[in-house]
Symmetry: C2
Subunit: 438 residues, 2 copies
Amino acid sequence: MALIVQKYGGSSVSDADAMKRVAKRIVNTRNAGHNVVVVVSAMGDTTDDLLDLAGQLTNQAPDREMDMLLSAGERISMSLLAMAINAMGVPAVSYTGAQAGVQTDKHFGKAQITGMVPERVARSIREGQVAIVAGFQGISSDDDVTTLGRGGSDTTAVALAAALNADVCEIYTDVDGLYTADPRIVPTARRVRQLRQEETLELAAHGAKILHLRAVEFARRYNVPLHVRSSFSTKDGTWISNAPANPELKGLVPDAALATNQEDKVEAPVISGIAHDRSQDKITIVGIADTPGKASRLFEIVASAGANIDMIVQNVPTSGSGRANITFTLPQDDAEKTLQAIEAAREELDFTDVRYNPNIGILSLIGAGMRTNPGVSAKLFGALSNAGINIDMISTSEIRISVVTKLDDLDNAVRAVHSAFGLDSTESEAVVYGGTGR
Amino acid sequence: MALIVQKYGGSSVSDADAMKRVAKRIVNTRNAGHNVVVVVSAMGDTTDDLLDLAGQLTNQAPDREMDMLLSAGERISMSLLAMAINAMGVPAVSYTGAQAGVQTDKHFGKAQITGMVPERVARSIREGQVAIVAGFQGISSDDDVTTLGRGGSDTTAVALAAALNADVCEIYTDVDGLYTADPRIVPTARRVRQLRQEETLELAAHGAKILHLRAVEFARRYNVPLHVRSSFSTKDGTWISNAPANPELKGLVPDAALATNQEDKVEAPVISGIAHDRSQDKITIVGIADTPGKASRLFEIVASAGANIDMIVQNVPTSGSGRANITFTLPQDDAEKTLQAIEAAREELDFTDVRYNPNIGILSLIGAGMRTNPGVSAKLFGALSNAGINIDMISTSEIRISVVTKLDDLDNAVRAVHSAFGLDSTESEAVVYGGTGR
């Protein structure tokens, strides 16, 4: 008997019929002899409807009240799901974030989990009940309702799985796993059966939207095995774990995952997939004085503006000019305030110009053993060159190479690289995209 | 500076525009120099929508999950209302039943308030914030969300007013006060400016639907002055209090209420109004043995079935037969299970027949000084007789006379009595009816 945490996103519980389908799946898992704890997001359009109502009243809603409002969404979905499961003869009880012991800091709208004390959930397990927990929400030390921001429900599920020492955390979504590239761009993309946590982290950090970065970080830190799969089929999805799976999970876990052998994977480069990101912009500071401390002062100012920068390139200054160019990428939502902060510090930073380019795309190739294998980058650049695509910036890590292209070139770049690395499947696999991002 | 608790029903906050109107009224009250605590129900159709969703999943939802589900409705309305008030420049913070310290027993769906510890609400008042509290909900000692059942939001408001020692509890609704009779039946009904708590209790208990019985009982026990008024006008409504009003409330309270003098009212009968009730049925036990204990045993059995009986009449047995008839009225929802319980005890109770009549109506005339003034009942019976209406059962209290009529005669009976007691207004006052019953 295993303990399984299952997380269902908003598109999996969009209406009563979808809710019944999810309830049936939970009941089946239980009837197979496992304990089940469920984390659920708000139903389909609930969040948008609530935001729309708030927007009719004000465009400056206090964060605390916004969290109170949005947290109602999971109360609705979780109690309805508990009803549906009870109607199938299995006892189920729903818990709010507070009742499930999801303790957070006080940052409304993007709270971080500071503690997990799921006593009532554990008691439900002991008493043979299915516990249904509200995703996306917690409670602060002031006893205020908080929400965890984007990817919050995934994070709730992984944190709960860690605290309960669950055997696996299943993330149900409207896609049947992680793909070698976004199938909307590359119809021949293949579903990945298995991924190591580090590669998943890079994929999530560089544009793959199925699994949220925070949840993957949590899974890695507490070594929670993840299984990303579709709530619309019983097909195996993508298994994410560094450790061999618990043999008790046989039947719940793809055989490939059970046979995992880490050594197999680091000898030759193994490409896990290609992520792409359209949500970053590029800023170039032209002619900044090439004196010690100027660059670090620039990034202090950028950080104070709240921007999370990704790639950085500093050009070598032209001999004798004493001035360099610094280029970096950042989320487009942070661009405006960052440009303002830099402009305000123009005198102190001593630069000649700022250039802003919102029309960029980032392609990231992710896989094990990249840095030790120079053939990987050669093949990447060759594929892009053959497709007539210019590369602007490059950054690499142990298991990733990212390049910046023109936004209009991004889709072609993904297809060219996917093909060059032999990732194309012989048959297209049908998938559905959507979801609320909680 | 007074402390005012305002309660707004679902029809007062049915959409964003209504919400803004309510916010404006709250802001005006505050700008007039008063502290305001607000209790709000779920928006218009929210409750029905949630019940509909639950009905698509099961017709046997666990009570705990149903309460969890329905409590989401007030979270939505209270946080939106707080946003709307903040948008008008006044700080406002919303609190769930749990956060506002509404402690209840564990009877999901019809919980009773067992304690009020509104510490956070009191702190908000000290800090100059408008506190918005979820009506209809509380928290049990098991830390489970409970709902208070019908009239729950009114009860929350009155209990909060009592705990905070508020100067007045204003109940906003879609009607501008209590009327001498239901204006849908008697178009010439007059709005009552002022009522004593006891009379209001009788009106609420005998069919007047504007104020819920539980809330009135609470107001009477803790001596909370109530003001029932419309959220769609600034007109004074009906003031309910036995004590003279706080002179600080001048301007918030009808002048008549400020001038209240209790002695004025008990000398001659003063008719407060006419309530009517279509929701009761009648059961007659025919030929029950007229031996000691049989009647009390009958009512033990009825009470065990969970029925709340209202009027009882026992006929004098025909000389020598040793058998009597007992007739009583009860809520129609309780009729079926009560008839089953009586049938099951047929042998023990030793009766010859049971008759069931769902087609009855009850008219109640309420006012001070009735019992001491025989002219009142004479006038009542005369009016009904002139209108050709037969009376079936009669029951009286210190301040009430109730009669049972045929259901089809009830409207005519109300009009005839209203007119006979000179309650008709010279002009009709427009009112709107509706509401969610929370």
